[in-house]
Symmetry: C2
Subunit: 419 residues, 2 copies
């Protein structure tokens, strides 16, 4: 510990330079040095490697002042494709992106609570990848990597889902199971990390270096960036904000503890509040979280007092959690996303952030900005695609040793699945 290898440093520099090329659209070497904070010689080395590998190219742009055209650096979208997969509690979404991270095709397959065994999920991923490559006309050989996001705690190096309480998975060797079916470089992480990476590259991170990205869905969690870098924690477990205690000896949570924030503000927690308030409420669709939260949103739009009371109660707990997060990290921006935010955010975000003031040390609260995610498309599959890009960059020029976070199929399929 305390010691980073020069290979890690080289990789981080590559990723940072490419990040800045995406952020700037196209860039000169000197603007990359100032934007990345790397030295001019380091930028020159990285740029020449990226040019050699065809990841970036030189494009001609004219000065705004009308002067002579100058060569600038831009990503070469045709160099290859990455796939990002979002495994959520209710669906598996697969997206294919070119190397400029522009989406080319998308697929979504339903996943219900009866079909969330690893094999069910892997079937859907395989079908999804086949579907998006077919739609986009991308040959499998042009895919440089596939990033998969699975909820819960992930061992990236081992490609293992250590603990996914919402699926009741423990120590599932996910990549080992997936790689015979998709013999390509595979990368595993979770939605908190993926959506934070997406915001960092294409959302709120474009003008802030200290971010918190809150996800409200069936599960609840947060991702953090400090100084422009994703916070992983020592075992890649940072961000389990949703399992922080908001009520001592409170409701049981799927993680095995009691009184977790998720048990109050996750979709099942909101359903429970509705059930406790009005046991036979017509808003309640016991077998569908999405239908219930949608009904709640419609009732809020119509001014229904029961819906308003449930919203206030949810906002109360969410305000406590947001206060803690702001107190601890003093981010410039808190971005709220996830499907519950998409449905209820219009009412929930203003109510929760107003209440958060009561739970925040005053000076930090006054400087924070709250936003709902402005990314178009799915930030989780985008972030998973960025992880695949990161792995691809790390592997360029490395032929001998094996990247512990990159997994290629140990067993090659004799007949590759049809695309």
């Amino acid at each position: 510990m305390g010691i980073r290898s020069s290979r890690d440093v080289r990789r981080a520099s590559r990723f940072e330079v490419l990040h800045q090329i995406y952020a700037l659209g196209s860039a000169s070497r000197s603007s990359l040095a100032s934007a990345s904070g790397l030295s001019t010689p380091t930028v020159a080395t990285v740029v020449s490697e990226l040019l050699d590998w065809g990841v970036i190219g030189e494009v001609c742009t004219e000065d705004s002042g009308g002067g002579r055209p100058r060569a600038r650096l831009a990503v070469n979208p045709a160099r290859g494709f990455v796939v990002g997969v979002d495994v959520s509690e209710t669906y598996v979404q697969t997206d294919v992106f070119d190397l400029a991270l522009q989406p080319r095709a998308s697929d979504r397959q339903a996943l219900d609570t009866g079909h969330n065994h690893p094999g069910d999920v892997i079937d859907r991923i395989e079908r999804g990848v086949g579907a998006v490559l077919g739609t986009a006309g991308v040959p499998r050989a042009d895919v440089v990597g596939i990033g998969v996001s699975v909820p819960g705690r992930i061992d990236r190096a081992g490609g293992v889902s250590v603990f996914a309480p919402n699926f009741a998975w423990r120590q599932v060797p996910f990549i080992e199971l997936l790689s015979p079916r998709l013999p390509l470089p595979l990368y595993l992480d979770n939605p908190l990390k993926a959506s934070t990476m997406a915001e960092l590259w294409f959302g709120a991170g474009r003008d802030a270096r200290d971010l918190a990205v809150v996800t409200l869905g069936t599960g609840v969690g947060a991702g953090f960036a400090v100084g422009g870098t994703l916070v992983r924690g020592t075992g890649n477990a940072a961000g389990e904000w949703g399992h922080s205690t908001v009520v001592i000896d409170g409701r049981p949570c799927r993680c095995g503890n009691r009184g977790c924030l998720e048990a109050y503000v996750g979709a099942p927690g909101i359903m429970r509040q509705l059930r406790e308030r009005v046991p036979g409420s017509p808003l309640l669709r016991p077998d569908s979280q999405t239908a219930t939260i949608t009904a709640l949103a419609e009732a809020l739009a119509a001014g229904d007092p029961v819906a308003e009371a449930v919203l206030r109660q949810t906002a109360r707990y969410l305000g406590v959690g947001i206060g803690t997060l702001v107190n601890m990290l003093d981010p410039a921006v808190v971005v709220l996303g996830g499907w519950v935010t998409a449905l209820l955010g219009r009412w929930l975000v203003p109510a929760a952030t107003a209440l958060a003031a009561r739970h925040t040390f005053a000076p930090a609260f006054h400087s924070v900005r709250f936003e709902t995610s402005a990314l178009t498309g799915n930030p989780i599959s985008l972030g998973a695609g960025i992880f695949a890009l990161e792995g691809f960059l790390a592997g360029l020029g490395v032929s001998t040793s094996r990247d512990p976070a990159r997994h290629t199929a140990a067993i090659a399929t004799t007949t590759p699945p049809a695309v």
Copy 2:
């Protein structure tokens, strides 16, 4: 935002190289490159600057194998001195260190609740600085900077104590008030940041890059390091973990909110628990927090059941807070310090960390290590001294522009105070 200047990068490299020389004791250029993660040319540039300025020198060491002596780099302790000041709720401690950060002299002056106006504190700092320089025989001209730690929210650039609830200070221009009395480069920050910096340089940070440093005293807070770097937050307000809500609508806290962790586990909170349990308890010394907590420690050592009940209750709330911290940041180590930890840690740390398991997402909990601070001396004055060292390094070679976090006296005293 998102843009760091090359001057910031140069400064950060200098500070990181020097940090590694401290960590390694003495070092070769190549060991510095691998330990710091900086490129060999960057290390060479920084080392040659530090040699030119006399901050480091070359020393001869023999190979462990008995080979020929080799030149290694080490800090030059005689290059100058830094002073670190810890303004706590009950005392002002001043320490002078040589440039190798070895303590040379220390002074402590009592501060009681009737004497915590800025002027009272400044008088004690001035006397403390005079005392330690006198004892150590250090001429004032050899002091390269003074770092001062004051509890609460600090605007570093402005040298302002924005909000110090325990002193009832708001917007006190502390450095502006102090600089006529001590016309030297002055740096202001808070004890959470200072003690985290001290742990990062000389404590748990020597073998972990992701740390949380918890301080339990009159006030309660935490400092964080991610990837070996101190987390400041966007407005230097990160670490206000003590003002996270543990009981919704709970006890009022000095910050103005209700139910904050500090209101339960800070020294006044522990006293309140004792008072609520046994109103006339002989352990209670209403006018002294230190005497009460000391009496509680003695009662625990004697197996007193009231003391044990108060300890259990305190551990319960502290366990919630520690769980939140581990959930959010997944640190390798949580270091507990502060004067309440020094007195009660033997009982409180094992009880609270065991209870924290109930409030932590399981995988993160199993990988974290809990420690009580192993630093000798006062980590806050040491950390404040490190901030002065950091400011001194940043200013070397910069003669024209003004460092916003460095404050030199606008008004020179005609007769410098006697040393």
